[in-house]
Amino acid sequence: MEDNVILRLEDVRTYFFLPKGLFKTIVVKAVDGVSLDMKRGESLAIVGESGSGKTTLGRTAIRLIEPTGGRIIFDGKDITHLKDENEMKMFRRNAQIIFQDPFMSLNPYMTIREILEEPLIIHGYKDAEERKEIIEKSLIDVKLQPPEEFLLKYPHMLSGGQRQRVGIARAMVLNPKFIVADEPVSMIDASSRAEILYLFKSLQEKYNLTFMYITHDIATAKYFSDNLAVMYLGKVVEYGPSREVILNPKHPYTSALITAVPDPDPKNRFIYRKVISGEIPSAVNPPPGCRFHTRCPYKFDPCDKSEPTLIQVNPNHKVACHLYNKK
């Protein structure tokens, strides 16, 4: 494996098994065969609607969920079914997550200092002075300045944006290489969103971090991610450089997703958006063939029979759609 690939997902599958009645089990195929490479220092946006499997993919990538199938290779090491406690600890140190809800993901009974100190204690930083130094540095990194002003505060004393910065600082204290950010700005006011996203960008450059940015908001992905993967029902249907995918989408689902999002433009009210009908089907019984065929305006012969694989359409731009099979 090339040295600069930090994370490789090979045909990763994450299924959830839900009991139904006494003897039956329902299988929810949340992630169903995703292969991706992420280079060091890259930011990759995973875009999709609710139920597309994007959050499950992010959580699987850092082994908060153990995958049902496939392989996860992190920094050259297969961590798919890693069990050894010490090795797991080492991995956790390098791969962190930022959660969507800055209100729910911080313990209300802990001060900011305690919240940031906990990971350091768990990972064996014995020297209290050193811990304090690291905490202060990470608070400065996320622009909660001066740090002394925040150390003794409780989460409820901070604004939503400040809380999310604490969430970022908590992910940063262990100096990780890879961070999954799961909808980190969706609960933050529009006027502060860009500020947090710029912060991610600066941290990424400063520490050569690799970011997996999980979002339903394809517009922010255009501004803040190098590459973009569009997910639909557990599969990646399109992958490529963010700007290229957005300006020149190949998959009918990606086009539909982009058409559905309005820009602030007073002309909008005089037009109807060409949207596809229906809603995302259940991941329990995904449609056969291409999973999007039930809603696709370009559906033709093979679509409901064989499943399209990701094929290269441009350098680095891949799409899983039968429309491009012949070309």
């Binding site: 609607e49 609710s50 604004s159 939503g160 944006g161 400040q162 006011d189 529009a190 006027s191 502060s192 969103r193 860009a194 500020e195 996203l197 710029y198 339903h216 908001d217 394809i218 517009a219 922010t220 255009k222 501004y223 957005i246 539909a256 997703l257 982009i258 058409t259 559905a260 999002v261 309005p262 820009d263 602030p264 433009d265 007073p266 909008n268 009210r269 109807y272 958006r273 949207v275 596809i276 009908s277 809603e279 995302i280």
Partner: protein
């Protein structure tokens, strides 16, 4: 010029909190013509939902002050008592789709009956006729008519949202308030609902107040946009005026912070946090975050200046250019 169906003048609303009175809505005025749609846009805590509840006169028990004029069809509803309001105004002239209402459908009653219920209970309409009306409304909001026999759990989120919109229309209101009707839905479903609302406007010629935190979404439906901040309207004008040429520093920055898919720009943001409405900053409520702050801003509150084309801007920058209060 047609008669305004709604005129709001100097609306103030405060809530009692443990820390003191929270002035959620301060001196809000606007008007609405038949068939016109107004977007009230702002970030969390700016008073947009409070304004909506005030228009319905559905206020929480800790309301400590509620003043101003709300004229619906020329009648000031502030003077009416609750029973009069129920009998003649609420739901009949002005209706509202509450935020998250789709999650409040009764799970054990068929949705058609839930839509028809007000007719049966309050208007003494026979059940068959009322269900017919529900069918009609279902058609209007883009639901198959036989869905009246379904239960809420048999519907998806987008369908439930359509049901609650149908519900709000059952007594033929002239004004419909939509409070974040799509914020819990995926973008694809959101676009479907927005298309449906555009149809609804055309067929019913209903006036709409569309409350959203998403100014891009407001542009999808609204003729006029009011930008609220800290309980006040900072700028009010046509969609063209506000979106293409925002005058208030807050609206300009807010629009600058919206990532666009179809064009490129450098994204802006507003440092700092929204004001504490129990102890608002003196002068203009936006002044601590304003990039154009100058002498009078932290001392006195700017009035709403009326500029060319009738647009209103609450900012001292326009003192010279405007026509005054």
């Amino acid at each position: 010029m047609s008669q305004n169906v709604l005129e709001v003048e100097g609306l103030n609303l405060a809530y009692k909190t443990v820390r003191g009175d929270l002035l959620a809505v301060k001196d809000v005025s606007f008007s609405l013509k038949p068939g016109e749609s107004l977007g009230i846009v702002g970030e969390s805590g700016c008073g947009k939902s409070s304004t909506a509840y005030a228009l319905m006169k559905m206020l929480p028990p800790n309301t400590s002050m509620f003043t101003g004029k709300i004229m619906i069809d020329g009648e000031n509803i502030m003077d009416l008592d609750e029973s009069e309001l129920r009998r003649r105004i609420r739901w009949k002239k002005i209706a509202m789709v509450f935020q998250g209402a789709m999650n409040s459908l009764n799970p054990v009653i068929k949705v058609g009956f839930q839509v028809a219920e007000p007719l049966i209970v309050h208007e003494n309409v026979p059940k068959n006729e009322a269900l017919e009306k529900a069918k009609e409304l279902f058609k209007l909001v883009g639901l198959p008519q036989d869905f009246i026999n379904r239960y809420p759990h048999e519907l998806s989120g987008g369908m439930k949202q359509r049901v609650v919109i149908a519900m709000s229309l059952v007594l033929n209101p002239k004004i419909l308030i939509l409070d974040e009707p799509t914020s819990a839905l995926d973008v694809m479903i959101q676009a479907q609902i927005m298309n449906m609302l555009k149809d609804l406007r055309k067929t019913l010629n209903i006036s709409i107040i569309f409350i959203t935190h998403d100014i891009a979404l407001a542009s999808d439906l609204c003729d006029k946009i009011a930008v609220m901040y800290g309980g006040q309207i900072m700028e009010l004008g046509s969609s063209e005026q506000v979106l293409l040429d925002p005058k208030h520093p807050y609206s300009a920055k807010l629009i600058g912070s919206i990532p666009t898919l179809r064009s490129d720009k450098k994204l802006e943001f507003i440092p700092g946090a929204p004001p504490d409405l129990v102890n608002p900053p003196p002068g203009c409520r936006f002044n601590p975050r304003c990039p154009h702050r100058f002498d009078p801003c932290d001392k006195e509150e700017p009035p709403l200046y009326i500029l060319d084309g009738g647009r209103q801007v609450k900012c001292f920058l326009y003192k010279m250019k405007g026509l005054g209060e």
